[in-house]
């Protein structure tokens, strides 16, 4: 036998050799195409799955982006645990808890917004959910702004004017460097999210989304929920370290 034949056999035995329909098949060459179907996809289902997968790949890079900061947090907290506890006590647990609840509510309204597009609800209903979600997002940023203002007022923003009355000024400054980096990057994601949602509301208002095509709503939802997840971890790690020492 020649080398060529063996090579061909190898290829045909491989799963990569055969054409695969990712969605498990609505191959509809004869059907009228949906106006939103791009020519390189077989059908709307495959197109939606490709978009979802692409968004997840982006979110994985975001996990690693925030992951670097979480790693830095681990290293410095391990190096000075007492300083981190002391510094954490100057954060306002009430504001932190309230903001966590606000983000969870906004995730619920976002999920219901995606559902309204999925079920071909009227454009007004879709826009209502999106706008409610944006209002909670704005409320989160407002409370964050109040917290930041208090930190500037009390001179606990890292830099030449940093002042610390406690036992560990150096470690506290490290904690607040991480606090502002992590919550700042998170807040930036919230601001970008509000921009995405503004665009989403405007397009939804024109009746762009229904059960056949709602990919932008789904993908924007994925982004919004991801930002919520980051806060779910930031809140206990920044606000709730060693609180029980002061509980007595």
């Amino acid at each position: 036998m020649s080398d060529g034949h063996a090579h061909a056999e190898h290829l045909s035995g491989s799963t990569y050799g055969s054409p695969v329909h990712v969605d498990g098949g609505h191959p509809a060459p004869g059907h009228a195409h949906h106006p939103k179907l791009q020519h390189h996809f077989d059908d709307m289902g495959q197109q939606a799955e490709a978009a979802t997968l692409g968004m997840w790949v982006f979110l994985v890079t975001e996990i690693m982006f925030f992951g670097g900061l979480f790693m830095a947090y681990l290293v410095y907290r391990h190096a000075s645990p007492s300083a981190f506890q002391e510094a954490s006590h100057h954060l306002n647990v009430f504001y932190g808890t309230l903001n966590t609840a606000i983000l969870i509510v906004s995730s619920l309204t976002m999920a219901l917004g995606v559902r309204s597009a999925q079920t071909s609800a009227p454009a007004k209903t879709q826009v209502m959910w999106i706008v409610i979600t944006m209002m909670f997002g704005a409320a989160f940023l407002g409370i964050k702004a109040i917290e930041y203002t208090e930190k500037f007022r009390d001179h606990i923003v890292p830099g030449p004017n940093f002042r610390w009355e406690g036992l560990y000024p150096h470690g506290a400054e490290q904690f607040y460097s991480l606090y502002f980096c992590m919550t700042g990057l998170h807040a930036l994601h919230m601001v970008i999210g509000l921009g995405i949602m503004t665009w989403l509301a405007l397009t939804a208002l024109r009746g762009r989304y229904n059960a056949d095509y709602y990919t932008p709503v789904e993908v924007a939802g994925l982004y919004w929920h991801f930002v919520d997840i980051v806060w779910i971890f930031l809140f206990p790690l920044l606000y709730l370290i060693g609180r029980h020492y002061h509980a007595a």
């Binding site: 609505h26 799955e49 996990i63 790693m71 997840i229 029980h244 020492y245």
Partner: protein, 100 residues
């Protein structure tokens, strides 16, 4: 098609309720002295909350296996980052004269 699964509204409300209860538990637990367990409890609740958001709000529960693999790979790689990173910092000074 799997991407088009419509979950009932009641399910979203249940997940929402679970997330709020989780938040309440996290705050309450932080004020109880459990020693080193404080951190474990806090992160376990956060992990459960994040899983609920990923599975239900982000529809991964009904997504293709390919999406599952990509999403899980992200969190898995994060654990590698923390695992290998802390394998250095946690073991410094175990052998005499190696600190720093």
């Amino acid at each position: 098609m799997s991407a088009g699964h419509v979950a009932p509204k009641s399910m979203y409300y249940m997940v929402f309720l679970a997330l709020l209860v989780g938040t309440g538990l996290t705050v309450a637990a932080a004020f109880v002295d459990m020693g080193a367990m404080n951190n474990v409890v806090m992160l376990a609740i956060a992990g459960i909350k994040a899983s609920l958001v990923v599975l239900f709000f982000m529809h991964v529960r009904w997504s293709t296996r390919l999406t599952w693999v990509v999403a899980m790979a992200g969190f898995f790689w994060l654990l590698i980052l923390f695992g290998l990173g802390m394998a250095d910092y946690l073991t410094r000074g175990w052998v005499a004269g190696t600190l720093r």
